[in-house]
Symmetry: C2
Subunit: 498 residues, 2 copies
């Protein structure tokens, strides 16, 4: 299954991100795009291992307060159509099953584009009393969108293979809003563990999730200067509860509508890890999600000349010993015992993003040392064989921290805060904003009106991400004048978006 691409150089990430991304998916064996249906792809074994580690982190976070369930893929047309706002947002994108065998189905069945209309009719029977609340569930499932735009592996798909959707129901609006805050904290922790930086905003009223009161997306900045939405949290309030008639009996015996939230993450989380950390030699995986965290490479020259002559046997023994020690310590380690030359091995494991390589050769053994080579910065250090386990742990932590810091710096260096003064001429100002938006996120003043929002989007070729919220540092809540209409306005983030 290996691509023999060792000697071909790949396009540089900064020159053509899109081409680089496609090459990396192929060469690192993340996703095979040669499946004969538009917008659906095949997960390679290696890619699926990364996917499972990423979703393992997500599951661990969710399992503290949510329960995993599984609802059906097929949603009857009448259920899907119940929430009018909601379906408006999806109706052009729904795949329809209309036949079983050669029989036309009585009611067409939708492939879930998302599962509100599959889950909430069942909430009606699951929720009876205040004692059933809060109800917090999640599932990780395949969902479908009939995308007519350009599709892109892991990013814009017709089959989203790994949609994590959480759905919660609460007694009061305050409880639901508290859940939104918890979900924000959970997503922060998740993306922090992936070393993926983000901005958290509140989408403008005119661009929220269909059926939601408000939507809180996480966006990250991709290397081509576009933002990608990598997670979203919605306060649904009572809208779905009223449509589906989901009520509970409170402590006084009166029936009330539940208050709901939902929040989702797709395999874009995997795309962000690949895109943000990777370099011109391939993937750079954060140790948290690297299927192999440490690869051990024996440095034995001319093996065919006989092992005992060049210390090969001792080297292999040392490699096995180090491997055992690392496994014992819970580190995902592997020895590359293949017949390939060391250079070919380096190429392979660099492409696959293995965070740390340990080289052991006859000369190292003489001094009871081995050599560490970090994937992220190629730094080499000599480490005594007796210290391998603690040094590996320290180094993996260092890599995790360093690539996270580097990614955060890149993000923050590409957020441009436009002043609200508006002294420039209007055209100059717009030209400046447009230029800045080519490389990243622009923070500017915009009023709440959809008209101004859409005019700005048209003029700059951007999307409005919304007002920054849930910042840890002191938020700049200053007010200014709308760049379009000059009325009173708040700061919002805008960017060219995926």
């Amino acid at each position: 299954m290996q691509h023999k691409a060792e000697n071909q150089t790949i396009v540089q990430k900064k020159d053509n991100f899109s081409e680089w991304y496609g090459e990396i998916l192929k060469r690192a064996e993340i996703l095979d795009i040669r499946y004969p249906v538009k917008g659906v792809y095949v997960w390679y074994p290696y890619g699926y291992k990364v996917r499972n580690l990423v979703y393992g982190i997500l599951r661990t976070l969710l399992d503290k307060e949510h329960e995993e369930v599984l609802f059906p893929l097929l949603i009857p047309k009448d259920e899907l159509m119940k929430e009018k706002e909601h379906i408006k947002g999806f109706e052009d994108e729904v795949f329809w099953v209309t036949k079983g065998g050669s029989t036309d189905l009585d009611i067409p069945l939708a492939l879930r584009p998302t599962s509100e209309t599959a889950i909430y009719p069942v909430f009606i029977v699951w929720i009876r009393s205040h004692r059933d609340l809060p109800l917090r569930i999640y599932q990780i499932v395949n969902t479908f969108r009939y995308e007519t735009k350009h599709t892109r592996p892991l990013i814009r798909l017709r089959e989203i293979t790994s949609f994590k959707e959480a759905h919660t129901a609460h007694a009061t609006r305050a409880d639901a809003e508290a859940q939104v805050k918890k979900a924000v904290a959970l997503y922060k922790s998740f993306f922090d563990q992936l070393a993926v930086p983000y901005v958290i905003t509140r989408r403008p009223e005119w661009d929220k999730f269909p059926g939601a009161e408000y939507s809180i997306p996480f966006d990250t900045l991709m290397p081509d200067g576009r933002t990608m939405q990598i997670g979203t949290i919605h306060l649904l309030g009572e809208s779905f509860a009223r449509t589906f008639d989901i009520k509970y009996e409170d402590e006084n015996g009166s029936l009330k509508f539940v208050n709901q939230t939902c929040y989702g993450i797709s395999e874009r989380c995997v795309a962000s890890v690949i895109a943000i950390h990777g370099d011109d030699h391939g993937l750079v995986l954060p140790p948290t999600v690297a299927p192999i965290q440490v690869v051990i490479v024996p440095i034995v020259f001319s093996r065919k000349a006989g092992r005992s002559n060049n210390g090969g046997e001792a080297v292999e023994e040392a490699c096995v010993k180090v491997h055992e020690e690392l496994k014992e310590a819970g580190i995902r380690a592997s020895v590359d015992n293949s017949e390939d030359r060391p250079g070919a091995k380096y190429y392979r494991w660099e492409m696959k993003g293995v965070p740390l390589r340990i080289e052991i050769g006859p000369r190292d053994l003489k001094s009871n040392n081995c050599e560490f080579v970090r994937r992220d910065n190629t730094k080499r250090t000599h480490v005594p064989l007796s210290d391998v386990v603690p040094e590996v742990k320290r180094t993996l932590e260092g890599i995790q921290g360093d690539i996270h810091e580097a990614a955060k710096e890149t993000l923050h260096a590409n957020i441009y805060k436009s002043d609200g003064a508006g002294n420039n001429k209007r055209e100059e100002k717009m030209e400046e904003l447009r230029r800045k938006a080519e490389h990243g996120i622009v923070s500017l003043f915009l009023c709440d009106s959809e008209r101004c929002g859409q005019e700005l989007e048209d003029q700059l070729g951007v999307s409005v991400l919304g007002e920054a919220v849930y910042e840890t540092e002191e938020e700049e809540k200053s007010e200014g004048k709308c760049v379009i209409c000059s009325r009173k306005a708040k700061r919002v983030c805008v960017a060219r978006a995926y």
Copy 2:
């Protein structure tokens, strides 16, 4: 989400298995059948935990020599139709996606009924050389069948939510046959860990998987005397390789077709655990797949009267301590601290099949004891608090072994070996076989011809499972006369089947 069914008795398993099964799925919160599409169901949190533990065992076994992948759900019509034998077996059962939004699709897309035709076109590009072989992959996915027969939760479904399908490719037929043997060993180990007994047969030629050279099913015996197929292994040989043109370059540089196998297990494995071990009080889960292996119940009467008066505080402390010790030892334990009466707690955890209950009350504490109550046989024993951890381990192992033995005994007691003598009158003989087949599996002599097989199936109302194979004990390879045509025949198993 809890069903208030505490005081309602349920139908006895032996009187009406089908009704009992439905009640248990509901009351133990395995599956909710109230979803508005025929043949698709909702996994409750508790059911999904059982499912995840069952599939965790399967994954661990597979991961030793297989790699997990994920292929798309949607298969274009032309690919699905390529293998003529194969599609004949499925064409009446395929769900078709014909529309995206309001647009008719150019090529209808099938929801995979199984994934040979999704995976093998990609094998063409994954397999180049003998160095790529053997290739062994698996995926756990949802698959679809437009069932027109009576559907049944976990057993006969329109959406199979948890189909594990493995697909392998080999250089030679001998390698592929060796893989079939390995798969048989793997499935044995899997079902042994579920304490589910089985018979392994080779399906008659005229009833094998469409496209296979031969099929090796695992069948178990359900409490209503019917067999249920719970896993199947197929030798595909070169048939799909020839259809899809999957070749590899051997060591001498010549191109050869690969030899293939595939093998699958669906959520029927969960159904078999529920059906075989459960009793009139609910589930009886093997400790290997019990989400809660031990529930600790404090026996504190009239809590409201004040804890210090009746030793309640000391009891709760002891429960917490035991809980901590068990968790420390890697045992899935839980304390039921709810306000319910002990009787209500017993009912709940018996229904959910928790293998072991530990009761701790003030009197137990005085003697530094606690009481163990086994779910499978209701036996009570006093255990010193200082021995809880080793005694729990021993008891759980005992339960696992005992329910496995009991299930094997039931199976073997319901296999009737008809003699081959044929001295009775033909009609009497058939009547006897029909009667025996009402309670279990009948082993009788049948020739290879489809005509005799189908006549027997009609006359007895059974299915032919096939010749027993891969038995550990000495196989009875005796020959006799076909019960239909009296020609030379081998022993085969027949039974009424799901």
